[in-house]
Amino acid sequence: MPAVLFVVHGMGVHSDSSWADPVVAQLDRVASRYDHFAAGPPFSRQATVVPITYDRHFAGWLDRWSGSADELERTIVEEGIGVPDITGWLRGAGEEARNGFWTHVVDVLLYRFFGSQVATPLRLDVIRQIAGKVDELKTGGQVVETFILAHSMGTAVVHDSLALFAEKPELGAHSFFMGGTPVRALFTVANVSRVLERPSPPSFQAYQSVVRPAATDPVQGSRGWIGRFYNFGHELDPFLWVRPFRPVGWADYWQETELRHVLTYNVHGYVEYLDHPSVHIPIINNVLGGVIPRSEADEKTAGYRPELGGDCEEELHDLVADLHVLREAYRGRTEPLELIKLGAQFYGRVKRAQERCRTELES
């Protein structure tokens, strides 16, 4: 099957490819709302969906640090050695105990600030996963159409990986994709590639790299790698308030959509974004080639009413009100560290809402 949709995760624990199960299930679920899927196979059987997993590159470092800290602590305690517990803060970084800071925020920190030792093998691994599948299909005599759906930090990872692929002649990207536009359509959900971009060189910057529509003018002789570029954001998604991704002059084959629906506490959630017809219809129609007619698409989009998850609607409304306040506080911020701070505040607020809801239900 030549239409391949690579799905890429964001920050958080994603140990193996099963992380994508809820995403694929959601794509199947939302697709089933349309006539084309009423009698036919689900979306995931009409296209090849391939999860891209890179979290092991973070988990590896965290597990090693946690292990070293445990070993040091054990010796200090057993031997009664009088030294300060200098690595105590690293305990709990290991996968099993990962929580809050260690599951989400630290991924961004490691990726953005720890340089080549974290980012380069991760990017090479992402390139390898994509290239391996594309080659497998091409070698099997197929015309391959490559689509990528990335969420949150995954948007930066995909951007940087493709930019690295293009930047390094020894990887032979141009020959690898000879005769085709490398990525037929890129779908970025909660795009943070601009706030996490490298300051230099220009070929790695979010608006300058090859990760832009092929129809835009070449930058430094390089043509864009993306056939169609769809960017989905949400007005209350805090990760989009710091250096939002808003290119200028990408009129052709560039589409930006800002959502306002609230489905659950997690307005940043992958599955929550995909629920909206303005997000999943372009994905389905690009990958499968216009199987949802325009009239049906317009009707479903206009009639979309999110089904609120959970019972604590009041708590949800409070959260939305707080997010509006938070957004004003962060307007115009540009630094990656602001994003990390904001992310921690957001997840803290979401956790509080969830706990209050649980208490309310129990009482």
Partner: protein, 361 residues
Amino acid sequence: MNAFAKGLAGVCVCAATLPPPAAAQTVREDCRFDDVMGLTADRITPRWQEWHPAAVMVRLRPLIDENRGEEVGRALRDLFAGSMANVPATARAAHQAELDDYGRMLDSLALVLRGFTPNADPVERVRQIDGLAADVPRDVAPQMSPDGEAEILRGEPGVHITLDDGHPSDVRRALCWSGIAAEVVINELGAAARTRTLAELDRLLGLWENFVDRGYSQFPWEVLLNRGDELRLDPPRWQRIVLHPSVGGEISGDALSRLRRENAILIEVFGLLHYNASRTSYGGASAVASITEERTPAIGLLGHWNWAALGLLARRGETPERWRRPELGIVLSLDLYDLVSGVPAEYEATVQRIRRAATAN
């Protein structure tokens, strides 16, 4: 046998015994790769069967296998021209501009393909591909748009062919089937470059795996310090050690008869390591402090050789001369210490086993 050859086999075997052919009705059936390759013989009119991409690929296979680009390019043009005989004159006239655009693209493609010459050397093949890749037209095969149209040459500025259900099926087939065959040809000719790319990625990932799994551990502040240039693809050859805590074993004393063995916390204050090319081995040295339960800290020099680390220590003596007559010792990394300190126990256990065996006899 690849997908095309399998498809062709189906077409050829079934064609003679099939019911009267039915014409394809939609642009999807005529242009979408899956649909075209999934066409059963009864959906292909006999006059189109020899132009089906699977049939075309079987004919071109020997030329592709020998990398005879010039002949492949000429064949693709001839095939397209030949398939035009299936397009009624009225339809041809109505869509002349699109057909001409596509024909010109095939001319350009044929010019580029001339650069692919017979060569058994994979390195030379890759060099050829690298030299020609940028000139190969983009998107010669049809791709379905989100609106359900087939787009050809979408990646080529100014030449964008869009086909929909309103186009005659014969026009769509002439363009789409030729396009599918042309793209598969390009894919086949580029196979050596893809193999090179994957091999290079595997090599680099292997180096990183070695560096991380077999290299010396680093704490967060050391990773920050050694973070290096993100545009470098391979792991660093040099690694700085800074304030690196670890567990080790210290053997020291003021005389050979009074040696003491203790677990210690080692703090490497600073140091430097160097890796071999495959990042499987490293060596280096660091300045180290050893802290034990009862005694004052010792300082010294720690040498690293892969997993083993061995160092010399000096500790302020207990006599009034203090540093003039320091207590000397050695320090070992945990792995080496376990190995060395385990020997007496193993020796003792072996002796006991032999004694028990002798007594039993």
